[in-house]
Symmetry: C2
Subunit: 142 residues, 2 copies
């Protein structure tokens, strides 16, 4: 039986985060000691590892909820899990494209900085100059 602190260490999660996951229904309510402290078993360790791993891969909590649901019902079709992963991959590729464009622009800003006064600073100039925008009014959710 693990305390919440031990579980936290084993999974690289903060204690509060585990309690938060319980609150939003992502983790089950665990057993308690007589004094009211949470005690966890291996099932919870596995579940939390799954959640953290998915988070590291950039899945949203909602997506993880779906994945956990699929994983709890082994008879269901794999297609759904695959669809979720594909959606995720698409998002990642979009972010990559934007970040790459971004890196180019930032590099240019940095390399062209003359080192003088801000009145001549390329960094500020680039930000002021709207004509050099990649695309107008498009957001980067980096």
């Amino acid at each position: 039986m693990l305390t919440i602190g031990t579980l936290a260490k084993k999974t690289g999660t903060k204690v509060q985060t585990i309690r938060y996951y319980e609150q939003i229904g992502l983790m089950p309510e665990p057993g308690r000691t007589e004094g009211g402290q949470r005690r966890y078993g291996d099932a919870e360790l596995d579940r939390l590892s799954f959640v953290r791993h998915a988070r590291q891969l950039g899945f949203s909590l909602d997506a993880i909820r779906e994945l956990l649901d699929l994983s709890d019902h082994p008879g269901k079709s794999c297609a759904e899990a695959d669809a979720i992963a594909r959606r995720q991959l698409k998002q990642v590729e979009q972010r990559l494209a934007r970040l790459e464009a971004l890196r180019t622009e930032l590099k240019r800003m940095v390399h062209e900085c003359s080192g003088g006064q801000t009145s001549d600073c390329r960094v500020l100039e680039v930000l002021r100059d709207h004509s050099e925008c990649l695309t107008d009014h498009e957001e980067i959710s980096a």
Copy 2:
């Protein structure tokens, strides 16, 4: 003189966002009509364009505040603006590295999906299997 709605359209910002920027002190309090509606001039249009451009480049509102401050004092050294841009570039490159690793892993998950039942699903398996982690307990803020 521009209404807030016109300013919003010209800069690709939502009306609420402009009011929010005013609230947090990123945009100045504009003049008002007798009836109390906001009216903007070219200075505000420029400032908001600067802000939105910087946001598109992934700068935080705090960083933008610094940049605006530098830009308001043209005598200051360019070095600070350069430092902010360099910090930003570094962050972008870190994110890129993580996202690339992520893409590789997601691609593997998707390609190995057998199409059968969830009990054999590689997607879920990969998420359960902690040994295939890139690095332990490291977060991706994608």
